[in-house]
Symmetry: C2
Subunit: 144 residues, 2 copies
């Protein structure tokens, strides 16, 4: 299920964007929505990979049993999304280049799986090296 | 500054949507962005009032000194947004009809002001009475 998120992240990288992708799956493994960070592409700071996949899945009465896959450990914003809507499980491609709030999610009862996938890590490592300021902007970490 | 958020919430109510509005202001009080929940209007579950205002403000290197006004106490999703991007202050119209995560935000150093505004509360009270299932959907609280 990570491959869909990774394809989104790669597409984002090719577009010059922040290469984080995500996908939401139902309990039976059906793909509900997929997406990628669109800060650069749409000038939209509100669209992280996870929120893009969530939006693409459309309105749903419940997220019970769903799984969100994401290439990178989710930030506070995306972790809040996951917790608020009761997404049951999060599969994280890697948490090396950015340690998000997956431990906080686990403490709130969300099942968290960290894969430490080399392709996800290599993509983010290259991006952070090439565009450090864009990356800082995307996580609200620009000082001053 | 709450009046901009309240105007957005009223417009959302008139459209048959979830009547929560928000606005983001710079440290000197300049309006940066405003918006409202768009679940019904756009079929978009990812757009809460706060995320709409944040998106409308566009890309910014820093949110230091900014104030988010919102007609309703922010949920986990919107609280995560506020914390991740370092929005300094949140002015909440009311926390009667929904007690969100403003105490959690305050514990993380965000200045939180609760106004207990009667117009905000009346609008949400009417909405929750008229469309209880839509409201439950919007906060991920549909059981089953």
């Amino acid at each position: 299920m990570l491959s869909v998120a990774l394809d989104e992240a790669r597409a984002g990288y090719a577009e010059g964007g922040v290469p984080v992708g995500a996908a939401l799956f139902s309990a039976d493994g059906t793909l509900l929505g997929r997406g990628r960070n669109r800060r650069v592409q749409d000038g939209d700071p509100s669209t992280h990979g996870e929120t893009a996949a969530f939006r693409a899945a459309g309105r749903r009465p419940s997220y019970r049993g769903t799984t969100m896959t994401t290439t990178l450990s989710p930030c506070w914003y995306c972790s809040g999304l996951i917790l608020q809507f009761g997404i049951s499980r999060v599969v994280v491609g890697e948490a090396r280049t950015f340690e998000g709030r997956h431990e906080w999610l686990a403490g709130h009862g969300v099942e968290v799986v960290i894969l430490d996938n080399a392709e996800c890590a290599d993509l983010m490592t290259a991006f952070v090296r090439e565009q450090p300021r864009l990356w800082q902007e995307d996580i609200g970490a620009v000082s001053g």
